[in-house]
């Protein structure tokens, strides 16, 4: 594929010639809208300015066409869509046999919702290069969006004829079948698409709907549970080239974030490093670089980046938080606490920071302060089991059983599926030192619920405690026996004697209430 290096061409031209005006543009060439460059990153503005200036100094039609096309690609990359469309139109006018400009024009029009224009441009592009498969896929998408499923189907089947494993074609055919309520055919196509592109986890959703249509609700639920956000993307070298045109800090940040999201941490770190090079004072670039370095195992490098970010922006809560996590993991608890205190001072509604601070304070023996932050974390992160359990455990540790019970009740309301919370509440209701707090019936109900999900020695013992609290000593003894058996298998052996002592109490008969 022919490409023109803008930089090499520019280097051949003097500054004077850059500002020169050409006369006599070929007929039909339209003026290109000049988007405002105000507020753009300097590198981006310069890139656009240079590409635009190039058109004025070239005279050979092929080169002018190429320059218009390149300008279009740049505008396209930065979402300056109207200017991009005009530039592509000029490129296509001057080089009508070059399929690229029709194709890019089609892709742009499709994104802008101009389906009719997109269809025409794709058709022209495919006339010139019928073997370019992504073009057929996009044309089918446009036809499908315009409610022409028969035409789209014909195209996608042709694609499959030459490439039976084409995931995009399979997905498109699956969508068409789904729209026709041909659920079996839809399921077949979508299963095949997923087999060809297992990373495209978004396909699990339409597949689930196909199974729903077939009445297979179990499979439907199974696929819904697997559904994600990644769709099928046909390999498309022309579109991938667009992303590579971006320059400046933001371009690298963007690419780095994409790499990070897909688990390519080394690539992410490389992009973030380029962002730092583009703007050394960029706090987001340094924080992102630090986060990526942690993932690559370069903890020292990460600490340096977070410290550098804090020099630039001492009130950056994220930098304090990230740095604190690393320090805590390395055993520098006091320093970690200091940074976490800063993080919550800067952002009092940051639940994760409150939670980390609570845990760090608890580890350093500052339970009273830890309790305050667990409470705040639970309020801010009502779906986080750790916050509720941390708060409840500290309350129990300080003999504040009624408050602990209230916390666990609230937590259970928020997280009824949390085994730890339900178990903690069952235990408290069965064996709280204050008998007024106990409720044997409810404790038993909760303990059995947890036991059904997970039957470790501790969980079995909680059932025994609840039975004992309910005065059902024989049954309590039976369950305690099972708990001892399980504890012997799980270990360590020193768990067993206290459990045996409790068993003796149950065996002795009523009253056998815990602590009685």
């Amino acid at each position: 594929m022919k490409t023109l290096s803008l930089l090499s061409l520019l280097s051949l031209l003097s500054l004077q010639s850059l500002t020169a005006q050409t006369t006599g543009q070929p007929p039909g060439v339209q003026p290109i809208p000049a988007p405002s460059l105000e507020g753009l990153e300097p590198e981006v503005a310069a890139q656009l300015r240079d590409a635009r200036a190039l058109i004025d100094v070239l005279t050979a039609p092929a080169e002018v066409a190429e320059a218009y096309g390149e300008l279009g690609r740049l505008y396209h990359t930065y979402s300056l869509s109207e200017a991009a469309a005009a530039a592509y139109a000029n490129a296509a006018l001057l080089a009508p046999k070059d399929f690229r400009w029709h194709y890019y024009a089609g892709y742009l029009a499709q994104a802008m919702g101009r389906s009719a224009e997109a269809e025409v441009s794709y058709e022209k592009a495919l006339e010139l290069q019928p073997g370019f498969v992504p073009g057929w896929i996009h044309l089918a998408e446009v036809l499908l969006a315009g409610n022409h499923p028969d035409d789209a189907e014909r195209i996608l089947k042709q694609v499959l004829g030459s490439d039976p494993r084409n995931a995009a074609a399979r997905a498109g055919l699956g969508e068409i079948a789904l729209s026709r309520r041909q659920f079996r055919e839809a399921a077949e196509h979508l299963e095949a698409a997923l087999a060809a592109a297992p990373e495209a986890d978004r396909l699990h959703h339409p597949l689930a709907l196909a199974y729903r249509g077939l009445g297979d609700m179990e499979r439907a639920r199974d696929h819904l549970a697997k559904a994600g956000r990644v769709g099928v993307r046909p390999a498309d070298p022309l579109i991938e080239e667009l992303a590579q045109l971006r320059q400046g800090e933001m371009a690298h940040l963007l690419r780095g974030r994409v790499a990070f999201r897909f688990g390519r941490f080394a690539d992410a770190a490389a992009e973030f490093r380029k962002a730092v090079e583009a703007r050394p004072a960029s706090v987001p670039a340094r924080i992102n670089l630090g986060a990526a370095l942690v993932q690559t195992g370069d903890r020292r490098g990460a600490v340096e980046q977070f410290q550098e970010a804090l020099k630039l922006a001492p009130d950056n809560g994220t930098a304090h938080y990230n740095l604190a996590l690393l320090l805590a993991q390395d055993g520098y608890e006091a320093d970690a606490v200091k940074h976490l205190e800063e993080a919550v001072r800067i952002e009092p509604r940051d639940g994760a920071a409150h939670l980390e601070l609570a845990q760090a304070l608890e580890r350093t023996g500052k339970s009273a302060m830890a309790l305050i932050h667990y409470e705040k974390a639970a309020g801010l992160l009502p779906q986080d089991e750790r916050a509720w359990m941390g708060e409840a455990n500290l309350l129990v540790g300080s003999q504040r059983f009624r408050e602990a019970r209230d916390v666990l009740e609230t937590a259970q309301g928020n997280l009824p599926g949390s085994g730890r919370i339900v178990h903690g509440l069952a235990r408290l209701l069965a064996a709280a030192p204050d008998p007024a707090l106990r409720d044997g019936k409810r404790a038993l109900e909760l303990a059995l619920q947890v036991h059904a999900a997970r039957g470790t020695a501790t969980h079995i013992e909680t059932v025994a405690l609840a039975l004992a609290e309910s005065g059902r000593c024989d049954e309590a003894a039976e369950w305690q026996g099972k708990a001892i058996e399980a504890a012997r298998q799980e270990g360590p052996p020193e768990r067993v004697p206290p459990m045996e002592k409790e068993l003796a109490r149950y065996t002795a008969g009523a009253p056998c209430r815990p602590g009685g």
């Binding site: 979402s79 300056l80 969006a145 729209s179 959703h205 639920r221 928020n414």
Partner: protein, 534 residues
């Protein structure tokens, strides 16, 4: 008709349709001079782009719709505006609107987002709930033209960023409960710099902030509400919610709740009949589009667009995404049929917000109104003094196929909320459209009155959820529901207005949420029937 239960009042038809345009903006001539203020600071504060809504409601029970406008404010350390902007109430005096804010006792100077209306104490006077960036407010209608701030007493002042809210009766106890849709955890202090693809500074999106859990308040019937968000299951699932509609998705007689989330799967909270709700949106096929993509849900409405007796969900979205129509199979299972029905076509370039199923031409088929306005930089329009403005859209329903009616709305604006109701009581649906940082418009319908219609006025402001079934010989029954919620951050006329097309009316059946059915025969068309229980 049972005379013990019903009083029919004939309402005079006042505004004949003359103009060629289906809608005419009558805001200026009717005295509606409200202009929204978003406090735009240059700091790209997220809430600046997200307001605002308005309400059409009959606060003085004089038989015509009054209007409430939600107002913005200044965020951060910006210079305060004097006098401070505030929400405004306009009384409708025969289509001449008078600003009665000062005498009403409404003093809403918060950063306002939306409004919901309902009679919380069943005293026959409609009350007002205002959602804010900041604590929400409940205003009780005193019945004498004034309102009292009862936020504290009712316990409904959710402090988080809320946008839309819906009054509905979750437990069929006859008292209106309240679902409050919360958005994201943004703050002036937590205002990161976000950028457009061009690298220009831009407003952030919802993905840049943690989503918030929503709130469900149960009406205790004694003037107070209990926060049952946790117990009901609602609080378990945070979501960046913007729009909400309460309706009976599976026709089991219990009201369910659909929430349009912005950039995340939508919720369909199915009422479990025991005070709890379960989100079934994914399996029901109404959480994401056909391809499995979560879209940027903004406004929402539910209505029986295909005249098959169940309600279908329409959700508006961001530009680059289509609007989505989820068609109900009658059991609460939905299919995305946006493309096949025509709902998607023409929507891709628009960022759409307020919307409703309205039968604007009274032909018996529910049409669609959509108001739109961008939320982020439109690169092609830098230098344009109104770069975010877009035109509103009207889709006509041609027997289950939606077709955009071209050229109806010519003046662009940054559309957000839209409230719907028969403002001039002439038997067709008018629209109050709210524009971010711009003047509101009152779109008076000029064509609906040309067709036959029947209106049902619940007469009891606190009774949404009532289904109206209109029977016509040789034609499918028309099902409509009384509600004030839906659209975007706005509250609409609870009266049910049904276009009859060219068919005569044979009977009207009223289905109450508890299953009770009343049937009226021999009603004249072209009238509102006011239904009052003794």
């Amino acid at each position: 008709m049972d005379p013990r239960k019903l009083v029919c009042i004939l309402v005079a038809v006042a505004w004949p349709a003359l103009a060629a345009d289906p809608f005419v903006d009558a805001a200026a001539q009717s005295g509606l001079d409200f202009v929204h203020f978003n406090g735009m600071s240059g700091e790209m504060y997220f809430p600046e782009m997200m307001g605002q809504g308005g309400a059409l409601f009959d606060y003085d029970n004089d038989g015509d719709l009054d209007a409430y406008f939600v107002q913005g404010s200044v965020l951060g350390t910006g210079k305060p505006v004097v006098p401070a902007p505030r929400g405004r109430l306009y009384r409708n005096d025969s289509l001449r609107f008078v600003d009665v804010t000062e005498s009403s006792g409404l003093d809403a100077r918060d950063y306002g987002m939306g409004v919901a209306t309902g009679d919380i104490d069943n005293d026959g006077w409609v009350d007002l709930y205002l959602t804010n960036y900041g604590a929400n407010r409940m205003y009780r209608n005193n019945g004498d033209g004034t309102f009292a701030d009862v936020t504290q007493r009712t316990g409904t002042g959710d402090p988080r960023w809320s946008v839309s809210a819906s009054f509905f009766d979750m437990d069929r106890d006859g008292w209106l409960d309240l679902y409050v849709v919360n958005y994201v955890d943004w703050s002036v202090e937590k205002n990161p710099k976000c950028f457009a693809a061009s690298s220009r500074r831009d407003y952030c999106g919802p993905a840049d902030f943690p989503p918030l859990p929503h709130t469900l308040y149960r009406n205790r019937g004694d003037g107070t509400f209990a926060d049952v968000s946790a117990r009901s299951g609602i609080a378990r699932q945070p979501g960046p919610g913007l729009g909400v509609i309460a309706f009976d998705a599976d026709r089991d007689g219990w009201t369910d709740v659909y929430v349009a989330n912005d950039g995340a799967p939508s919720f369909l909270w199915m009422n479990q009949r025991d005070g709890t709700f379960r989100d079934d949106a994914l399996l029901a096929g109404a959480a994401v589009n056909r391809r499995g993509q979560a879209e940027a849900g903004m406004g929402v409405d539910a209505g029986d667009f295909d005249a098959d007796g169940d309600e279908d969900i329409f959700v508006t979205h961001l530009s680059g995404e289509t609007n989505t129509l989820y068609v109900n199979d009658g059991t609460g299972m939905f299919e995305d049929r946006s493309t096949e029905t025509g709902a998607a076509l023409g929507s891709l370039p628009f960022t759409s917000f307020g919307t409703s199923w309205i039968d604007y031409d009274n032909d018996g088929w529910l049409d669609l109104f959509i108001t739109s306005g961008a939320v982020r930089i439109q690169e092609s329009r830098t230098g344009d003094p109104f770069p975010l403005a877009q035109t509103d859209q009207l889709y006509r329903n041609a027997g289950g196929r939606l077709e955009e009616v071209p050229g109806v709305f010519k003046t662009p604006g940054v559309g957000r909320g839209a409230a719907f109701g028969d403002v001039d009581n002439d038997g067709d649906m008018d629209i109050l459209v709210l524009y971010n940082n711009g003047p509101a418009r009152l779109l008076l319908n000029q064509v609906g009155g040309q067709q036959s219609w029947i209106g049902v006025d619940g007469g009891i402001p606190g009774e949404p959820g009532v289904q109206v079934e209109v029977l016509r010989p040789g034609a499918p029954a028309l099902w409509r529901r009384s509600h004030t919620d839906g659209s975007y951050a706005s509250a609409s006329d609870p009266r049910v207005l049904v276009g009859l097309g060219d068919k005569p009316l044979s009977a009207v059946r009223i289905h109450r949420p508890g299953g009770k059915v009343e049937e009226w025969r021999g009603l004249p068309a072209g009238r509102y029937v006011i239904r009052k229980e003794r």
